[in-house]
Amino acid sequence: MSMSAYLSQLVQVAVALMLAPLLVGWVNQCRAWLQNKRAPSLFLPYRTIRKLFVKDAVVAQNASPIFRLTPYIVFGAMTCAAAIVPSLATDLPFARAADAIALVGLFALARVFMSLAAMDIGTAFGSLGARRDMFVGFLAEPALLMVLFTASLISSSTSLPQIVDTLAHHEIGIYPSLAFAGVAFTMVSLAENARIPVDNPATHLELTMIHEAMLLEYSARHLALLEWAAALKLFNYSCIGLALFFPFGIVVSGADWLAVMSSAPLLVAKLAIGGVALALIETLSAKMRIFRAPEFLGTAFMLAVLAMLVNLLLGA
């Protein structure tokens, strides 16, 4: 591991932290355009976060330390995840400490703490949100894992950089199994990031909300960290998607950090396109009832399993 490796690692994390709110802003803007509303500023998320940081934190009387610790843990987990997913370069020292399975584990860690914190206050909405979130999670996580396994069967490695290396430079460019995996992944990431059709981030309508219901009791800096973490999560999922299905352009190991910087514009471009796609999906599809969610995610899960099967059948 060279010095530059660590440097590119840091650069990548920094980029992720910086770009994440921007991506959220971009998606919201696109969605507004598509629904021909007047779009909010691209930088609204940054302002929101800053504003929240300034405010005084209001915490329920019966909140336990878990409640106040959770935002930091979630934020930390997401940052680590950002350090694992190769967005700019595959030369990531930290990725050796945590592979794809660990990545899913980190997401799960964040989710569990979110749910615990939501239950901590003991309000109806909190436990409702926690229940629904875990409910979505117990189907989405396996699906995500199966998607990653499909890729790791191809590259016979579970470390993401390895996967990307293989996928990026391999004779056979086309993997039928990845087609299935791609669809499954899209569905999963919609669910995981609280997007329509599973959840609607822009509502506080109790019957439909999942993610928002867990944030109800949070305010100020805690809320800011959680919003930021959510943005990071979206960013990470996007980067996973890009890394698995559009790996070109990611700098492979051995390059110095300037090269890494040079790969940033391409990333931004890819993310922009991804954001448009996401906004498109959200506009075209309707929010579904909460108990349709298992069908939706079950389908994703089955597709992921199917992807693995196809991979074993066709050896690709």
């Binding site: 005084d56 399975i101 239950m119 399993v305």
Partner: protein, 664 residues
């Protein structure tokens, strides 16, 4: 002093302590301040001895007991040493806890409990060192017997008696199956020593008969489907330390026995055995976790989660058999490592959680989740330590549950290298099932922890709950530390386990893990690597940095206010999710698996109460039919005896005639 002598010494000491307790049955102080602590010390000593014996060569001894031509043989090899270490390490904690736990004697006198408890420990230790069929069976059944009496400590409560009866019955039937398995293994040679059985080469269907008899017998004790029904009954019935021991150690002795028979005494293994065990394990895992999700009693919930973990372990064993059948010994070694590692992990976090429920039980006299809540404020020690256990059992990095599941998944990812295409097709499904079970476990544990410790107290009397005493705390801290330690230094632990791999599958799992003490990397670092320590450090670092930065750049001001809850004014604790409520999504998704009886209150009901009972379908599909069948047979047999003497004479007459015709 060789290892066997020391182990036997430990067994004798335990028995002695038990007898000492029996000498002064009603003397609580003596039992709790002398007997149990000494028992804990013995446990630690045993663990230390075993630790040193894992890598040593097998040693055996003969005891001056047993049948005339069959003295008790004891033998300590790496496999038994590993499980002995597990036993000692956990037993020490549970004994310390028990010293503080057993209070006034509601049911059985404390001294008697002490005797049964230590006899239980001694029997388990003897099972692990047994080296011939007879001593194995004696220890095995004594273990069942001791634990039965412990389960029925509160024998005045009918449900507890019922649970104890069911437990002992299934244990006994399972033991008979094991007995017959040994009958096959001795191959008519009349030599019941394990050494003799290793010499036997069985032919034809006999190996399979032996294997499946062993699967049935040990499965019954481990709680594999369909012989699991005793487990969710007996665990809640028993006092919490006993539940902890049963779940953490006794189930592992069953795993030990199965490994002993199928890897050590049987020579070759067939691939379809592996498939069978794998399937059974995964079904058990899913079944267990799904049922755990809908439980409303915290100890039943943990019991079902034990079924799940045993299922995962069994799946690993199945995988290992599969690899071994195609002699891919390295991969077999990896999956075996995962199995043993998970045994160790489960022992630690499950005993931690059961002991935590014990403290909750003592503090609140309440086992039903629907009547708990908010205990983190009343009993912070228990709550925070239980949090560690919860995260560990939910399989979250960087704690220990994650490591073994990670290893197991890695092993699964290697299966495509098997020649059997049918098996290959199986892999994705199996992996999916495993992952699903693990994900559901997280759901279950959030339910458990959130409802017991978080939120607001659902009953007023919870306000008087008190935290656990010093001894209890010590035990809980010890176990929690174990969970963390096992989680962050996997390489060291695997180095510890490795001799067992070499002994059982003839290959070390450490060819790849030699990527330094920091990185766990089976096969090679390119393929996959994981370093929980680094993950932990980084997360903690990020958290601390974030806190610092936020507080420096902005401020750390906090105002306390009543919960907002979308501004809804009149909130009561009853508005929180109950256990039923939290389990409801699972109930709807897995509806077909349950037998549910719902009681929906009418909309005009002044005090509406919603009740749902979820029953184990296997009762209705398997056990009740058997019971009815035997009852019918009994009635038919009853017709033989009509009380009329001439009928009886006719029986004798026809017996005579029949025999005379027979010899014609």
């Amino acid at each position: 002093m060789s290892a066997p002598d020391l182990v036997v010494g430990a067994i004798v000491l335990w028995l002695g302590l038990g007898v000492a307790g029996l000498a002064r049955p009603r003397h609580l102080a003596f039992v709790s301040r002398v007997v149990f602590p000494l028992g804990a010390a013995v446990g630690l000593a045993l663990a230390a001895v075993a630790l040193s014996a894992i890598s040593a060569a097998p040693q055996m001894r003969e005891l001056p007991l047993g049948l005339p031509d069959l003295p008790f043989h004891v033998r300590v090899d790496s496999l038994s040493a590993f499980f002995l270490m597990l036993l000692g390490a956990v037993a020490a904690a549970v004994s310390v806890y028990s010293a503080g736990y057993f209070r006034s004697s509601e049911g059985t006198a404390p001294g008697l409990v002490g005797f049964q408890y230590h006899a239980f420990l001694a029997a388990m230790a003897l099972v692990l060192v047994a080296d011939d069929a007879y001593v194995f069976m004696v220890a095995w059944e004594s273990m069942a017997l001791a634990s039965y009496f412990l389960v029925t400590t509160e024998h005045r409560i009918p449900e507890i008696r019922r649970a104890g009866f069911l437990y002992l019955l299934i244990a006994h039937v399972g033991a008979l199956a094991i007995l017959l398995c040994f009958g096959v293994l001795q191959g008519g040679s009349g030599d019941y020593t394990f050494a003799g059985m290793r010499q036997q080469s069985l032919i034809g269907a006999w190996p399979s008969v032996a294997f499946f008899l062993a699967l049935a017998g040990f499965g019954a004790k481990a709680g594999l489907l369909p012989l699991h029904v005793w487990l969710p009954e007996a665990h809640p019935a028993a006092p919490s330390p006993v539940s902890a021991l049963m779940s953490a150690v006794m189930l592992k002795t069953a795993i030990y026995g199965f490994l002993r028979v199928s890897f050590d005494l049987l020579h070759g293994q067939l691939w379809w055995w592996g498939v069978a065990v794998l399937a059974l394990g995964l079904v058990s895992a899913l079944f267990g976790v799904v049922f755990a999700a809908v439980q409303t009693d915290m100890k039943r919930l943990l019991a079902y989660s034990s079924i799940e973990n045993i299922g995962i372990i069994a799946a690993g064993i199945g995988l290992c058999i599969l690899f071994r059948a195609y002699d891919k010994t390295l991969l077999a070694a990896i999956s075996l490592t995962a199995v043993l590692y998970h045994c160790l992990n489960h022992a630690f976090f499950k005993s931690l959680l059961f002991l935590a429920t014990g403290s909750v039980l003592h503090a609140t006299h309440e086992r039903s989740l629907g009547k708990l809540g908010g205990l983190i404020h009343r009993m912070p020690w228990v709550a925070w330590l239980a949090l560690v256990g919860t995260l560990a059992i939910a399989g979250l990095p960087p704690l220990n549950g994650f490591v073994s599941e990670w290893l197991l998944l890695q092993a699964f990812l290697f299966t495509p290298s098997l020649p059997q295409s049918f098996v290959n097709m199986l892999v994705p499904v199996a992996t999916a099932a495993l992952v699903l079970a693990v994900a559901l476990a997280a759901y279950v544990m959030v339910k458990f922890y959130g409802i017991v410790f978080l939120g607001r107290p659902r009953e007023s009397n919870l306000a008087y709950a008190h935290d656990a005493g010093k001894l209890e705390r010590t035990a809980l801290v010890y176990l929690a530390a174990g969970c963390v330690l096992l989680g962050i230094v996997p390489v060291a632990v695997i180095a510890l386990i490795d001799p067992v791999n070499v002994a059982l599958v003839g290959s070390s799992a450490r060819t790849g893990t030699s990527a330094g003490w920091l990185f766990l990397a089976p096969i090679n670092a390119d393929r996959s690597s994981y370093s929980p320590l680094i993950v932990l450090v980084v997360i903690v670092a990020v958290v601390l940095v974030t806190i610092q930065v936020v507080h420096r750049l902005y401020h750390g001001r906090v105002r306390r206010a009543p919960p907002w809850d979308c501004g809804f004014p009149a909130q009561t604790p009853r508005m929180q999710d109950t256990a039923e409520g939290f389990g409801q999504p699972i109930r709807t998704v897995f509806e077909p698996f349950f037998r549910m009886q719902r009681h929906l209150p009418s909309p005009f009901d002044g005090k509406p109460r919603y009740a749902v009972r979820v029953e184990d379908p296997l009762w209705h599909w398997l056990y009740l039919p058997i019971a009815r069948g035997s009852d019918v047979l009994g009635r038919m047999a009853g017709y033989i005896q009509q009380g009329r003497i001439s009928v009886y004479l006719t029986y004798s007459f026809f017996t005579l005639i029949a025999l005379l015709l027979f010899i014609q």
